[in-house]
């Protein structure tokens, strides 16, 4: 067709009588004129104009031998059937006739379209033609009919079962044409998912063998479908799992990246059944090169692949060990690819390649993309904390960066250095003067807070610590609450270390904080300190200057609990593997019901607990009392501190400031990468809901809670060894109050 000739007409600007004009043309006695009119109708539909009123006239043109015209009318029907359910019956006759047409293309087209018209009336007339098409001689018709069964199922499961379509579909798995097999598998897999009894498609040995046989002959998309369903099979023993893997391995050589990842998914899942270590080693070795090759695909595919590689690496750290160079960022990589590459570089960092990685990171830190630069600086900190031997080099690199005097680089570097101080106390204090030189250029709360923490922590070594603190205190009331809290603690530390110099300062600060600040978080802490100091300075020392638990690397980044990990491995290549969240966290219910929100919150909490349990055991001592201590122990930065008892809240806004911003210490991007534990984009929905709920409930509780806390504190001062007493006594109220604090900081 010569489209150019028609072009101006199709998208002509709308005049008032356009539909009327079309109406005339649709009824024209000339075929060309009618076809032209139908095209204009579709053109109008494309640009979003309402042409549903022309329904009867368009449908009248359905009965034609002109394939193009027929397709257009069908398209129209699919779009407007819903708005004219009563009139759809006009089309049924032609549909049924078309499913008997001598041309298989038209038979398939008719059955395909009928399935897409989601109107009950049509279902009555769909079953007979569908039955015929499922048995059609032509494979093209059969493969289309196979999908149509899933369409019918979606609208009316019972009818699909009653008519025996499920059984027919199961038979089609033995069809001689691979594409029919693939579509039958696709349809059955989808039906299985939504079936109540879960007996529509159970992958047993015979089905598995049939699928393996069809695998070699399918189109790329068919192979993906088969590999996806193949993973549903549960091998009986290690030997069988090995055999299946052998049959799947050749797929790693396929040009289509999704075939490759689907194959990797099968292999990763079947690895669990394999007991032969030699085989496992071989398999892991075979998976590396195809994973690396995925980085040569389009950037969006690279992104998905990198997110998956990130997962696979956590599950199997032995993979890709020597390939860190392939993850170095290219200058022109899109930012989202760079970010993921950076994550993987850190994951692959070890004492052999840390030099290389550091010089890369330093290079990135001088690029122009501010966000990426910050991440690179944080990554340097993570290297330092991960690898003891490299920490000095890292610190030197950070000092170089501070000397660039580029504002955001300096701030980020100071934040990172604070963590290094936590990890290696007393090792790098020589650099403190350099840090203090940059005092005036700090304007971000986190950076300010970090430097203040360092000053407080090393107050006895810094000659003019009191001056520095004094300097910060000038703007105490205007500061962000996070900075206020740090100042408060640092001042108390200063006082405990150098009582003679700073008695006046500490008095003034506590007074200001208790009298002039409305933020209960800051105010309460000031009260606590005040009482501690006034009743028992020794106890205050024990609490405030106590040793902090060591900082670890993974806590801040994307640590995924083993349970979630297994679920994510089962979902390799899917959206869940990209978000690092279980499918239930983002799968489309229309809206989250209150129940679902609660459930999501509970699940999150459970996940959190798992981690808590692990880390908690390592650092000895139960989690809850620790958390209770956190506030007093000055663990605002305690990223190693596992116990955040309010996961949905503190996690739902990962960049939140406040005492718990430590969850994000290492990694601004953890909202994306940290999976179900720390909610990110995907979980926002659920988490926000939960947040509001919690807020409400805590809103009611907080007053009593506060007074409760005071009661406790009042009693506290009298005890001889407050730190321990506290651990036993205070867990409940204080941990709750920290939740309240979170909330207050968030809103």
């Amino acid at each position: 067709m010569n489209l150019d000739a028609f072009k101006p007409k199709f998208f002509a600007t709308s005049t008032k009588g356009e539909n009327a004009e079309l109406l005339v043309d649709l009824n024209s006695e000339y075929r060309d004129r009618r076809k032209d009119a139908v095209k204009r109708v579709i053109a109008n539909m494309t640009v979003g104009k309402d042409v549903s009123s022309l329904f009867p006239q368009v449908v009248k043109n359905m009965q034609t031998e002109d394939l193009e015209m027929k397709k257009l009318v069908y398209l129209y029907l699919m779009n407007y059937a819903k708005s004219n359910p009563d009139l759809v019956i006009l089309a049924v006759n032609t549909f049924v006739k078309d499913t008997d047409h001598p041309n298989p293309l038209i038979r398939a087209l008719a059955i395909r379209t009928m399935g897409c018209i989601r109107v009950d009336k049509i279902l009555d007339h769909l079953c007979e033609p569908l039955r015929k098409c499922l048995q059609d001689d032509n494979p093209y018709v059969r493969k289309t009919a196979a999908i149509c069964v899933a369409k019918l199922w979606d609208l009316d499961q019972e009818r699909a079962v009653e008519n025996g379509f499920v059984t027919t579909l199961q038979d089609l798995i033995s069809d001689s044409t691979p594409m029919v097999v693939a579509n039958a598998v696709v349809a059955l897999a989808e039906m299985q998912e939504s079936s109540a009894s879960k007996d529509v498609f159970v992958v047993n040995v015979s089905i598995m063998n049939k699928m393996l046989a069809a695998l070699n002959e399918c189109t790329e998309w068919g192979q993906i479908a088969i590999l996806t369903s193949l993973a549903e099979y549960r091998p009986l023993d290690s030997k069988e799992a090995e055999n299946i893997c052998e049959r799947v391995i050749p797929r790693l050589q396929h040009a289509n990246g999704s075939v490759v990842l689907s194959a990797i998914r099968v292999l990763m899942m079947f690895l669990r059944y394999i007991k032969n270590d030699e085989f496992i080693k071989g398999l892991i070795k075979k998976m590396s090169p195809p994973l690396v090759s995925l980085l040569a695909s389009a950037p969006e595919v690279q992104y998905v692949s990198l997110r998956n590689i990130n997962l696979i690496l956590q599950k199997r750290p032995d993979i890709l060990q020597n390939d860190v160079r392939v993850f170095f960022c290219k200058y022109n990589d899109p930012p989202y690819v760079k970010r993921e590459k950076l994550e993987i570089m850190i994951k692959l960092c070890n004492d052999r390649n840390v030099e290389q990685i550091l010089s890369e990171l330093k290079e990135y830190a001088s690029e122009v993309d501010v966000d990426f630069v910050r991440k690179a600086v944080r990554a340097i900190g993570r290297c330092a904390i991960m690898i003891d031997e490299a920490s000095e080099r890292c610190v030197n690199v950070l000092l170089d960066l501070i000397n660039t005097k580029v504002n955001y680089v300096v701030q980020e570097a100071i934040i990172v250095i604070k963590d290094i101080f936590r990890k290696y106390p007393k090792r790098y204090e020589a650099i403190i003067p350099t840090l203090c030189e940059n005092l005036d250029s700090l304007d971000e709360p986190e950076a300010k807070g970090s430097l203040i923490w360092i000053i407080g922590e090393y107050a006895e070594r810094i000659e003019n610590a009191d001056e520095l603190i004094e300097n910060f205190l000038e703007s105490f009331l205007e500061e962000n609450s996070q900075v206020q809290l740090q100042l408060l603690t640092a001042t108390v530390k200063l006082f405990l270390k150098k009582p003679s110099q700073s008695q006046e300062i500490v008095h003034r600060v506590l007074q200001t904080a208790t009298q002039e600040i409305d933020n209960p978080d800051t105010r309460d802490r000031a009260y606590v300190y005040w009482r501690l100091l006034s009743t028992d300075p020794q106890a205050a020392k024990a609490v405030v200057l106590s040793e902090k638990p060591p900082i670890s690397v993974e806590s801040g980044s994307s640590k995924i609990s083993p349970g979630l990990m297994d679920e994510l491995i089962n979902n390799i290549s899917t959206l869940a593997s990209v978000y690092h969240k279980p499918p239930t966290a983002f799968m489309g219910k229309k809206a989250f019901s209150a129940d679902a929100v609660r459930k999501a919150a509970v699940e999150d909490a459970k996940d959190e607990e798992q981690i808590t349990g692990e880390d908690g055991a390592a650092t000895a001592g139960s989690a809850a009392p620790k958390n209770a201590m956190a506030d007093l122990l000055d663990l605002d930065f305690g990223s190693s501190e596992p116990a955040y008892t309010s996961p949905p809240v503190s996690s739902s806004k990962p960049t939140s400031s406040g005492p718990n911003y430590s969850a994000d210490l290492f990694d601004m991007s953890s909202d994306m990468s940290s999976g179900g534990v720390f909610g990110g984009m995907a979980g926002m929905n659920a988490a926000n809901g939960a947040q509001q709920q919690q807020q409400q409930s805590f809103g009611v509780m907080s007053p009593t809670n506060n007074s409760n806390q005071f009661g406790d504190l009042a009693g506290l001062g009298g005890f001889g060894q407050p730190a321990q007493q506290q651990q036993q006594q205070k867990p409940a109220p204080s941990s709750q109050s920290s939740t309240v604090n979170d909330l207050l900081d968030l809103f």
Binding site: A43, L72, I147, T177, V292, S366, E367, T574, G588
Partner: protein, 439 residues
């Protein structure tokens, strides 16, 4: 795990829908209105927006193509890789149909795009996407055909990429072995990454249903076989990927590459080598920056391959400050051109013989007031070249056997070429010359 997509949209960069197709009817099509605002919002948060995200129970997956977004939405935990690849496939197929895929060509061809979207995906599952096959029954001039089109056998055949009954008067096959070198060198001249992406590209003009078998030299070993290559100068291929026509299980068993090829052009196989090879073209830059007055470059380029080969159409792109002016050049060979809109200098050398070395000097004036914001932008140098009759891997085609029932004789033609891929060398820090030297 069902990977179905609910709907596909093609939008312009302002978020206006140019064409769309609703496959499952389980998401209101109005969901697309939130797409661009969400992307922009993510951009504002300085979070580089990822190519897939979820909002309100709806997942958005998109790619950029020219000035268009191709977007898929789904409620399910779809296979993200499949969806992304499928979107790229749509772009490829439409490009093959209309030469350019852009707003104009979509507007002009909406009828055929609807037909293609209907044929390529059913109920959200990808179907036939082979553009050669699609062109047999979805054509731009369908109305001219006397006979009504039928689905080609190939659509559902095991050989879904080739139709029966193809006839050529002269049966020929062209094989191009193309190796692209990806290189990243840091400012100190250390090679950070060096990788070769190779492809065996074929142009097939053969009648009937020919059976082909490709033999490569023994030197090429495939690491994934587990058979470790014998010691010596063998080059290991890290990973080999084949076009879907190649029988993968046969390859896995006995290393033979056998296939029934599609008609026309396609990539038979691609491979990757990680072996460190001497960078074929080495470029060194010396930058002297007289802040506030001028900047001078001394560029030295060396061809580090055999004398009897030479690189053609060499282009060396050297980034310069955006505010540079009054360029002056002097070079021993080739031509130098200043491209202010890209803030770079391009040094072109038509033919660069192996083993030779050349240098070029460039000189720019700088404004006396410096915009500090720009100071940090430091793109790398990039280099383009082609070296014919040469492969870094040493891959060689030993034979290509062509068998067809009718027994015709067909001639294979083989060419080799090595070219640049992502070939980047980072710029060294400029030497700060403080003294104002006379120009």
């Amino acid at each position: 795990m069902a990977s179905a997509v609910s709907a596909i949209f093609i939008l312009d960069l302002k978020g206006k829908v140019l064409i769309s197709r609703n496959y499952r009817g389980d998401i209101p099509m109005s969901a697309v209105e939130k797409f661009l605002p969400l992307v922009l919002e993510a951009e504002e948060d300085s979070q580089a927006p990822a190519p897939c995200f979820t909002d309100d129970g709806i997942n958005y997956l998109y790619i950029r193509h020219n000035n268009l977004f191709l977007l898929a939405i789904t409620r399910k935990n779809s296979n993200a890789t499949t969806v992304m690849l499928f979107l790229h496939t749509i772009a490829e197929v439409l490009t093959e149909y209309f030469k350019e895929l852009e707003e104009e060509s979509i507007r002009d061809n909406f009828v055929i795009i609807y037909e293609l979207l209907d044929e390529m995906m059913d109920f959200g599952y990808p179907q036939t996407t082979e553009s050669k096959i699609l062109q047999e029954y979805i054509t731009q001039d369908a109305y001219k055909l006397e006979v009504q089109v039928r689905p080609p056998m190939a659509v559902t055949n095991a050989v879904s990429w080739r139709s029966e009954g193809i006839r050529y008067r002269k049966n020929e096959v062209f094989l191009d072995v193309v190796e692209s070198v990806n290189l990243l060198v840091n400012a100190n001249g250390n090679v950070l990454r060096s990788e070769i992406l190779g492809a065996v590209k074929m142009k097939v003009f053969l009648s009937g249903m020919p059976e082909l078998r490709l033999g490569l030299n023994d030197k090429v070993m495939f690491e994934s076989t587990g058979r470790s290559p014998t010691k010596g100068k063998s080059i290991e291929m890290e990973d080999v990927k084949f076009h879907q026509c190649v029988r993968l299980s046969k390859f896995e068993n006995d290393r033979t590459i056998s296939f029934i090829p599609p008609d026309g052009e396609f990539d038979l196989m691609t491979y990757r080598l990680n072996t460190q090879v001497k960078p074929l073209i080495w470029v060194e830059a010396l930058v002297e920056n007289y802040t506030g007055s001028r900047v001078e470059y001394l560029i030295r380029a060396k061809a580090q391959f055999k004398r009897r080969s030479s690189a053609n159409n060499v282009e060396i792109h050297i980034p310069v400050p955006e505010d540079a002016d009054t360029p002056k050049f002097r070079s021993g060979i080739g031509s130098v051109q200043y491209v202010p809109e890209k803030a770079c200098v391009i040094w072109k050398i038509k033919q660069f013989q192996g083993g030779k070395e050349f240098s070029m000097r460039a000189h720019f004036g700088l404004p006396s007031v410096k915009n500090l914001e720009d100071a940090d932008k430091r793109p790398p140098m990039s280099i383009k070249f082609e070296i014919p009759y040469f492969t870094t891997s040493g891959i060689q085609v030993r034979y290509l056997k062509i068998q067809e029932r009718s027994g015709y004789a067909a001639l294979p033609w083989v060419r080799y070429i090595t070219q640049n891929g992502d070939y980047q060398m980072r710029m060294p820090d400029s030497i700060k010359a403080s003294k104002m030297a006379p120009i």
